[in-house]
């Protein structure tokens, strides 16, 4: 088995009075893909967003329990949240490139984190775009607007943007659910490539997608973690009745 990248222990998330995540403990293996599945409102996105403290943005959100990345509890007051987020890339459901050029979308992060040399930046831009299989499609219009790209290209640009600041973890919140099947396939191929370098957590509505791309799968229901196991076992022989019902399409 591979090493542990990070883990949560008894993690609870509240929105005001409402408890969205109920004491969930998960261990994430290094350089593998973990998929979160479950019906809408089950808390899987909330859980994902707590891993880089993105819930800080939401008024009234509160977290209890531990999230330990590299041994440190990221919710500790001494945590430098800006540093933390640099180490954790994030990709959203709807592609959200910055309203800037393709080049700037990628160069912006590294430049902010101290890469000033133009040649280094050029290299980062090229290698990030190559890793996301976008380079050949956009190399002739790097200084054109990122918004002129197709949805699938925009999403791959967003992935390139997040890996340009050299994270070790990638969080993906339904990264393909707004895309057409061809673009979806490209994103899935990309995930298979990226897991050589990154520990990936992906939230998905699509159970076939979870089965295709992930090594382990976690099934959430009403804020509870119902079952967490090797993907293959989850989809062929789940231990829990509710998991079986959900995966075989009896509800959700």
């Amino acid at each position: 088995m591979s090493d542990t990248a990070f883990y949560t222990k008894d993690l609870s998330v509240f929105y005001g009075e409402k408890q969205a995540i109920k004491k969930v403990s998960i261990t994430f293996p290094e350089r593998q893909v973990v998929a979160f599945i479950g019906p809408s409102g089950c808390g899987k996105s909330t859980f994902l967003r707590s891993l880089n403290r993105m819930n800080d943005v939401i008024p009234g959100a509160r977290v209890e329990g531990e999230i330990r990345i590299g041994g440190r509890d990221i919710n500790d007051p001494s945590t430098d949240v800006v540093r933390l987020r640099q180490k954790i890339g994030m990709v959203w459901q709807k592609p959200n490139p910055f309203h800037k050029s393709i080049y700037e979308n990628i160069a912006f992060g590294p430049r902010y984190h101290g890469v000033k040399d133009k040649r280094n930046l050029d290299e980062i831009v090229e290698s990030s775009l190559r890793k996301t299989a976008l380079w050949d499609e956009v190399k002739d219009r790097l200084h054109g607007s990122a918004l002129a790209l197709s949805g699938g290209q925009q999403q791959r640009l967003c992935i390139a943007r997040s890996i340009a600041v050299q994270p070790s973890i990638l969080l993906m919140d339904e990264p393909a659910s707004a895309l057409d099947p061809v673009s979806t396939a490209k994103i899935e191929e990309l995930i298979a490539e990226l897991k050589r370098d990154y520990s990936i957590v992906i939230v998905t509505h699509n159970m076939y997608q979870a089965a295709r791309v992930s090594d382990k799968t976690a099934f959430f229901l009403m804020g509870d973690l119902i079952e967490y196991d090797e993907t293959q076992k989850m989809f062929t022989n789940p231990s829990n009745r509710a998991t079986d019902d959900y995966i075989s399409g009896r509800f959700g």
Binding site: M54, M90, K100, S162
Partner: protein, 295 residues
């Protein structure tokens, strides 16, 4: 069939209303230009007014209006954008911020003559600024600040949350995310607010009567020392603006050509406002394109 008929009627009514507004606007501008254009000449635009004789110009007033605009915007824009950023991004949603928002709303609906009196009591008398451009600029700042704050706040609130999160997720600080990701996206809306605020500066008379004053000292346009009392750049001299001048000429002008001067000055005022509008929009579009790399 009935639904279609109703649809057609509604469309007709709406088009009619829009046309009516267009007609009023075009008619108004055409009338002012028709009455005033014939009186506009280089001499009219550059020479000082005459109190009894005919042939006076509006040179100093035109300069005062433009200069007051610059002074006011120098104070209003940083303060308004700063407060707007605070209200939108930093202030917690509690009773205090709700109260601040209420104050801003109330302030923006104040009658301008009251703001003028406030300026007289506070800036002119209490702070001994006398009738001056500076006092006028501060009064207009009070007048315009609510608009700037609200526009900035709404423009930033209109930026999709995913854009902000994308910046934060890259490890950008909150300020960097606001200044480099959100403000450029909010820029067009903020610019529109700035143009509106500027238009009010050009057009405002009541708030300036007792602050910037109703007179202009003899100005020496070769003297650019901002501390000299005859320099046009001195912010502590009284300054009658174009709008105040129009009001004064119409109510107590004794020159025989007073009606023509008022008409000419009105046309100039309209033209300057239009020029400023188009110029600011053109410049704004150019800046926005540069920010966003759009063609």
């Amino acid at each position: 069939m009935k639904a279609r008929a109703a649809d057609r009627v509604a469309t007709g009514v709406i088009i009619g209303m829009a046309s009516l507004i267009m007609l009023v606007l075009v008619g108004l501008i055409a009338y002012l230009l028709f009455r005033g254009l014939s009186h506009i000449s280089w001499h009219f635009l550059t020479s000082p007014p005459q109190s009894i004789k005919a042939g006076g110009g509006i040179g100093p007033q035109l300069f005062n209006s433009l200069y007051l605009l610059i002074l006011t915007m120098l104070i209003t824009i940083p303060l308004g954008i700063g407060a707007g950023i605070y209200m939108s991004q930093y202030a917690k949603a509690n009773q205090l911020t709700a109260f601040i928002r209420l104050v801003v709303e109330v302030l923006s609906s104040f009658p301008s003559i009251v703001i003028g009196l406030f300026g007289l009591l506070v800036f002119v008398n209490l702070f001994h600024m006398k009738y001056s451009l500076a006092a006028g600029a501060l009064a207009l700042t009070v007048f315009n600040l609510p608009l700037m704050v609200r526009v900035t706040e709404q423009a930033l609130n209109g930026v999709p949350r995913e854009q902000k999160e994308a910046g934060l997720a890259l490890g950008l600080s909150r300020w960097k995310t606001i200044s480099s990701i959100m403000l450029p996206m909010a820029f067009p809306a903020i610019l529109t607010g700035t143009i509106l605020a500027a238009g009010r500066v050009f057009g405002e008379a009541a708030a300036l009567l007792f602050t910037a004053g109703m007179t202009t000292p003899r100005l020496d346009f070769g003297n650019w020392n901002p501390l000299d009392s005859h320099s046009p750049l001195n912010p502590f001299r009284p300054a009658e603006t174009l709008a105040v001048h129009i009001w004064k000429i119409n109510s107590e002008g004794r020159a025989p050509d007073a009606p023509e001067i008022a008409a000419g000055a009105s046309a100039v005022l309209i033209i300057v406002v239009l020029l400023f509008n188009f110029g600011a929009r053109w410049l704004g579009r150019a800046i926005y394109r540069k920010f966003t790399a759009t063609k």
